[in-house]
Amino acid sequence: MVVAVIKMEKGKALAALTAAALSLPGLDASAATPVTRAEANFQYGHYQESDKRMKVQVYHTDTLIPLTDRLEFSFSYDRDTYSGASPAYSLPEVMTISGDPGAWWAANGATAIDGWQRNKPDPDPFEKYPQNIDPSGLDWNELGFYKADAISSASQVSATGLTGGSLEQYAVWNELNVLNSEDREARIAAYRTMLNVPLPNNAPIKQVFQNQPLETRTQPTLGLKYYFDNTTLGISGGISDEPDYLSNFGSVNLSQELNNKMTTVSVGYGATSNSIWRNTSHSHAPVLKATNALPHIHPSDCTATATVCAPGSALDGSSLFNAFNLGFSQVLSKTTLLNASASYTNQSGYLSNPYKAVYVRGEITPEEYVTISEAAFLGNKQFDWNSITQLQIVGPELFREIRPDHRNQLSLGTGLIQHITLLDASAHLDYRFYSDDWQVNSHTFEFKWFQPLPYGIMAAPSVRYYSQSQAEFFAPYFLAPRVDGHYSSDFRLSAFGSLNGGITLSKEFAKGVNIEAGIEYYTHQGGLKMGGGGSGDYADYSSYLAHGGLNIDLSASGLFGGGSGHEHHHQHMHHGSQPPAGVMYGHMMPKANDVMAGYRYMYGSQGGNMLHGSQSVSDQTVNALGCPGYTSAGEKGCLVRPASMTMGMHMFDLMYAPTDWLNLMVMPQLMDMEMTMSSDLRKASYSVNGNTELHLSTDLQSPYSGMQHNVFDLGDTLATVLIKLYDDPNHHVHVGIGGSAPTGSVSEIHGQTAGIVYPNPIPVLQDIGMQPGSGTWDFKSSATYTGQMNDIYWGAQFNATVRLQDKNKSGYALGDVFQSTSWLGYNLFSWLSASVRGQYTDQGKIIGQMVQYSKAGELSGETQQAHNTSSTVDYEVNYGGQYWDVGLGLNATVTGGDFTGHTFGFEWLQPVKDNVNGYQLTRDGALSATWSYMF
């Protein structure tokens, strides 16, 4: 929204009114009136789908800063963290085993069962399972599979030597039974029986899910807008980065006001260039429900030469989108605004979804399956898949989806905005028609109502209905190959309708601070398609979105634009005594009723060699000694070690001084951590029965090798009381007494695991160092002395963090932390000072152990969590130690211009000596940056 702003000194009522009136709303809020206000926005969204499907946490921040009267700069930053399960493919339910696998086999291959039972090669396959699961309490079928998918279990397509091991358990069966037959025709007949189960009309469809490990998407965007008299030119660009998708985008927009600002016309062009990979750890992640088990998806283009195919290298796709937009808006009356828009997008390149599969019957004939089986049986790695099919095989009758590599999209929209004077409300009615050459047509209707309420509250309920037809090449499953070779069973291309309803409440507080919160509910249903003919109800789901936002008008709140309303301001903190940026609790506000807002960013990284005590140690030593007691199928010691770790802490600092000798301080934190594992330090173990470090016997590296995981979530919240003990012009002493509330999670997970190892999905926790919270209530105290003489200042601080509980909900408590530091600084200029600092930190040992899966616990109905055990960071003994650092810092206080009164600090902390407990990664250093402003 564009609102003209008049400097307070020009604040004549008429001028203000005219200016406000002249600033008409324009397309995309780009009317040719400069936004002379600076603003900052923060937004949080929590998105959750039903049935343990996707969960997304969205953090957004943006800022708008006028650089000149006509030039405006914007920056936004999005961070999404997502996890959960996503549909991988769907197939006729009769092709799966659910409930009683024995019945299916009795109906379709009773002799096979007999054969298996007689010839079962391993009398007790269960003893090889991790944590020594006792099979007696689990629902295993006669074949030693836990409710495996029948179609997956019915062939040797993915057997060892060709595509790898997803079905190699079944290969044993095949070998023992059908394949043992000399009669090739009998084997073909056996495949035909298993693959071509007759389907009744309206056979129920089953969706099969795969798990999405916790991942993060980061998107910074920069924008510039220049306001000519009646024309606005905007450009913007940014990057969106996630582990398997990198997107670069840019756009340019021109809008022109005509007809005495009654009409606005705009044109725009945007380009997006994407790089797409397939993260193999996705498809290797176990599944949501054992009964819906998706076998491992194999990069089938590696199948012919499996031994030279590196994990994750199978897809290197790219796509390019070109989008053109036209917009038009017209003032119809004092209370009515009309708009219309058209957009055309051309997409080309890899437009498929790298994780979706399709069930296609008949693409491979029973004869060909036997040919494949024979090749597998003979270990023929040069087998030519392309002689059988051009599709990428991921399992029996399962292939990767393929979409056309071009798509033309057209969208036409129109909307009416009406002010209802009687209620002082505004109504928005929008309609959009969409059509593309994949034969998806859609209609979107949306209605929003903005109702001002007493106390400055705005209520905005909205409802949205959407309906689409299905893409030409969509089907839940395919009973015959398609001529054009395009297939997708992605629910997004099905025929369905959706209904979304929500309400947002917002309230404007004094000083230009606006807070809003809302909730929306969304339901996706095949039956909601307009006019019927939806794709059925098997893919129905619902989701909700809870969101909250904060908008700060930096100009109105006095934070930006220096001049206005600053006369009440005192001299800000005497920066001469301001401690270096890495020191917390080091500064007190000297006057009653002072309020300070601050932001502190601390970044630390680790990398390079591993340390034991103070000594660098080799990978062989880490492997031998870093993971006490760890073995897997005969292989001993750490499989991987951390290769790098970064930790960023965003701390929001609010301080208030009720009196001149006491300050209250609250500090919420956001944690941003990323860890990458090394490649395998030794040969990874392999076992068919599940206690394995390799997913496929043909894999060159374990999934832990090079594994990257990250966490972006709320940390603990600090609250402290600072009390002044002594103060004269040269010396100052204060103490801090407070605590830390366990608002940060200690249950961040890699993902869920299930399938043949565990009967139910079990969250796999990330290691202790990656948990954003301590999980315990902590007592935090500090004592600080600062002094100054002329241009020299100095200080010292002792602080302690003591855990008040001996275990958090994940079973452990971090060690206590004791830290002492002292510094010396010099005022280089009236606004700039430099400091040098020494710091010693003692971090105690972890008490207790992180929770681990327990068979007994599971049988007694306890909720189970598990954690990995293959790396040093998975062991409590490898945490804590003594650390010595030297810091170099700069502090600056802005004394003129728009940022008058803002204080900035930077400090680099260089490790000089470590003495770590156990085996830990070497610290590279840490950066602290602070901003603060006293009101």
């Binding site: 998105y47 004092k334 009416l416 309609y431 996706h524």
Partner: protein, 75 residues
Amino acid sequence: MRFCLILPMLLLLLIGIVGSQGCSPVAAWERGNLAKKEMALDPNPKLNHLRDHIFTSREASQGGASGAGGGCGCN
């Protein structure tokens, strides 16, 4: 196919409104209501940005949303 008529009908309706009200000039001082935040084309761009990302990653239709945005987040 009957739904294909909706768009033209809606456009006709809107043109009807335009026709009936004409394009009589609205003077600057008469634009107080139009200048309200909730009368903007997109009164809540941050929330719309969030919703658009969800809708475009859950529905086949894309386009029509203002500005460029990247990323997939499409599992």
